[in-house]
Symmetry: C2
Subunit: 210 residues, 2 copies
């Protein structure tokens, strides 16, 4: 199932999410929200390209489309990576812990799995911060008929970024290497810094165009 999550129907995905299975969970939701944000930016670009009224921003919109498409692909990969990372953590916790040797091995495996499980939401957060910036271009220069879609894009990217931060904290809380923990927390703080005010600006810009 892990490899096929993006092939699942929305209905099945929602049902699995709601169930008592630990995956998919919040990490998958971050990736899907980010992916929907990227897709809406692409939609705005696609509905701007080729329109006479927007000829002056045609090249800009083509670049925007390329960037959003690439970030979207990365997010759909993270959707899969998030579940794999979570399962790896779960497997490590299930390792035997009788002898000292087993305890050491288990601990090493847990810590290694937690590092991957932290890197996934960090990557998601990084992409979503970029999507906030791309949403501004979609809102500023895109077809005004779909300005609200640029607005939904920025709000979804912000939600995915803030959600990813929670998924970073939940893992760093369990990581024993103080340096890795510190560097991850510094990175997420940097990605969050200014993101809310940037989102508010773009939301207000969109609202002024409706």
């Amino acid at each position: 199932m892990t490899s096929e999550i993006k092939q699942q129907s929305i209905d099945d995905f929602i049902n699995h999410l709601a169930s008592g299975d630990p995956t998919p969970g919040g990490g998958s939701v971050c990736a899907v929200m980010g992916s929907m944000s990227a897709a809406l930016i692409s939609m705005v670009a696609n509905l701007t390209i080729g329109k006479k009224k927007y000829l002056s921003v045609e090249t800009h919109m083509q670049v925007l489309l390329e960037q959003a498409t690439e970030l979207n692909e990365q997010l759909l990969d993270l959707l899969k990576a998030d579940i794999a990372a979570f399962n790896q953590v779960m497997q490590a916790y299930r390792l035997p812990k009788q002898s000292d040797e087993e305890k050491n091995k288990r601990n090493t495996e847990i810590q290694s799995a937690l590092i991957t499980a932290t890197e996934v939401p960090l990557s998601c957060a990084e992409i979503c911060r970029k999507l906030i910036a791309l949403s501004r271009q979609a809102a500023l220069l895109g077809n005004t008929n779909v300005a609200s879609d640029a607005g939904v894009a920025v709000v979804a990217a912000q939600a995915a970024l803030r959600s990813s931060a929670l998924n970073v904290y939940v893992n760093t809380g369990l990581i024993s290497q103080p340096e890795f923990k510190k560097s991850c927390e510094a990175k997420i703080a940097q990605l969050l810094a200014g993101a809310d005010s940037e989102t508010e600006e773009i939301y207000a810009l969109v609202k002024s165009k409706l």
Copy 2:
């Protein structure tokens, strides 16, 4: 396709969203974000029910699960309704407009379609405001191992609410009946009031539990 949107794979949905087709668009994204929020609340409830440590909140969690499940069903219906409403607006705009009679008929159809197209995001916003409240219960009383999921739930519900507001404005901007327009704008303002601060409180509560 309209009736089968929730049966589409995530990948197909994202591709259709990104395309130059007007549907699915921002309205569908609102419904999916709301639905993921509801599903995460259900997940927290499901991972709390039956656990010895949480016996004292068992009944509370069962009620929470029922409420989240019902709101989720409503959101999945809105996913379909949003596309139908949008298509109805598009069809009305395509009606002939040569004679005065045709113009009148077209205008009546457009206005009628716009009313439905405004009611859908209003309903979505209403549900998402309820989900913010339910997220608080999940965060406060649910299994702390999945506290981050309650945090993602509140952020997703807020994003869906704020996005729905944009979809209300985009339609009320075109509605000619001043009373309907005014009542919708008052309703969405009421739904938005305090939602951001409520979300921040819940987000901070979740962060404190990680």
